[in-house]
């Protein structure tokens, strides 16, 4: 029988307070328990560790090929999918009530460190239509829902055809004129459907506050837009003070990596990052580029606590970011060359 994992204690720790040694001790303790739990509850995982040893990083691809779950069928309340481009298989992540509650809690702890405790009026740069199928969420739907708890008066800026809903946006701007608001959306969708329309019409919206966006740079880099350019351009069509990116994956929803005011992505108490040399899988030093491996202490319904991504990244430092947050901070360069072409949450069906 699995020993209870004490998540209540984990959630009392401020998300960016632990220094290296404290965090290592804490993570060791939780990862030991998670390992034990998944070994007991997931047969295929047990077989994998028999070959690969304790707590191996699982390639994200395994979640496409196999149904990996550590909970009974009747416990599963939600299945999340990465919305892979057509013709590709999608990851299926099985969530039970406890895991999804934990994900929401972690997300709220992390993001409120940047947005403050009060719930700001929220403008989602997406269409309500994304949430149509309530049992089978795409990464996009899950992202919107997760963030929606951090705001109030949730308003969608795009209509079903992904066009700007001017009436709604104008009403929102008027209602909260001069106040701080929270805007949220996926990078590519914001660029394509929000920014470009405003730019073409030479319109500037009186929206103040913070924009949080995520979901991959793959498509944006095709359009040759850099992170800095994205930030500057979005500020140019609004009155936003902050435009912050986040990095995360559907396989580890909740424990996302927020970008700070200094432009660095940060690991929180719920997560960690390691970089491997792709040639020999040795752990890379600070400032060496390599394959990104991510830890999340949250999942108990599927064995996704340590995952090998297909992204390339670099650790920039630990405990010494000028923003004052503890933990590792890093940079992501995008998909590793030669990695399978993979959809991310910014893919969407064309109407």
């Amino acid at each position: 029988m699995m020993r209870m994992i004490d998540f209540d204690t984990l959630f009392t720790i401020p998300p960016y307070a632990l220094k290296k040694i404290e965090k290592e001790q804490l993570h060791k303790q939780y990862l030991d328990r998670l390992f034990e739990h998944h070994c007991n509850a997931c047969k295929p995982y047990q077989q994998i560790v028999r070959v690969l040893g304790k707590n191996p990083p699982l390639p994200v691809r395994l979640f496409k090929k196999y149904d990996l779950r550590s909970t009974g069928n009747e416990e599963i309340t939600k299945t999340m999918t990465s919305s892979g481009t057509s013709g590709q298989s999608v990851s299926k992540i099985y969530l039970d009530r406890a895991t999804s509650a934990r994900q929401t809690k972690a997300l709220s702890k992390i993001v409120s460190d940047f947005t403050g405790k009060s719930r700001l009026p929220m403008l989602v740069i997406d269409s309500k239509a994304v949430l149509k199928n309530r049992n089978m969420f795409s990464a996009r739907g899950a992202g919107i829902l997760g963030f929606s708890m951090l705001g109030r008066d949730l308003t969608y800026a795009l209509d079903e055809n992904m066009n700007l809903d001017w009436k709604t946006i104008d009403a929102f701007c008027q209602k909260y004129y001069g106040q701080e608001v929270l805007m949220f959306g996926f990078t590519y969708i914001i660029w394509q459907h929000f920014y470009q329309t405003l730019k073409t019409r030479n319109k500037k919206l009186p929206l103040k506050g913070i924009l949080i966006h995520g979901g991959g740079w793959k498509k944006l880099s095709e359009l040759a837009v850099s992170e800095d350019e994205f930030r500057m351009e979005l500020i140019s069509v609004t009155q936003l003070q902050k435009v912050l990116n986040y990095y995360g994956m559907v396989e580890q929803t909740g424990s996302i990596f927020m970008e700070c005011e200094c432009g660095h992505l940060h690991a929180s108490v719920f997560s960690d990052i390691q970089i491997f040399h792709p040639e020999n899988f040795e752990i890379a030093e600070k400032n060496e580029q390599g394959l990104v491996c991510l830890t999340s202490l949250l999942p108990t319904s599927y064995p996704g606590h340590i995952l090998l991504t297909e992204d390339e990244g670099e650790i920039l430092g630990e405990d010494d970011c000028p923003c004052g947050r503890m933990g590792k901070y890093f940079k992501i360069y995008g998909r590793m060359r030669g990695a399978e072409l993979r959809g991310c949450s910014d893919t969407y069906e064309q109407h």
Binding site: T77, K78, R97, S100, A101, T104, K105, S108, S112, K117, S118, R119, L131, R134, N135, L145, S148, M149, L150, R152, D153, L154
Partner: protein
């Protein structure tokens, strides 16, 4: 309408449940009380009582009964 009636009505309207189902009703025990339904319920309650929940309370608002405790926290007597 009493506060309790308003409270009940928020559940009935946003989750599409019957009054008899309310006692013992918990998050995800009916199809409509999923994460989408949850945010609708929260928004309805906030409008009805002119309050604003903390994010933590939204997450922990896990049953009809538990919700009553939170209403008290926001000075709504049921």
């Amino acid at each position: 309408m009493t506060n309790l009636e308003k409270y009940n009505e928020a559940f009935i309207n946003s989750l599409g449940v019957e009054e008899q189902q309310l006692q013992g009703l918990t998050y995800q025990s009916v199809d409509t009380w999923d994460s989408v339904g949850h945010m609708q319920l929260i928004a309805t309650l906030e409008d009805a009582f002119d309050i604003m929940f903390d994010t933590d309370d939204i997450i922990d608002f896990s049953s009809y009964e538990k919700g009553k405790e939170y209403m008290a926290k926001y000075d709504v007597e049921l």
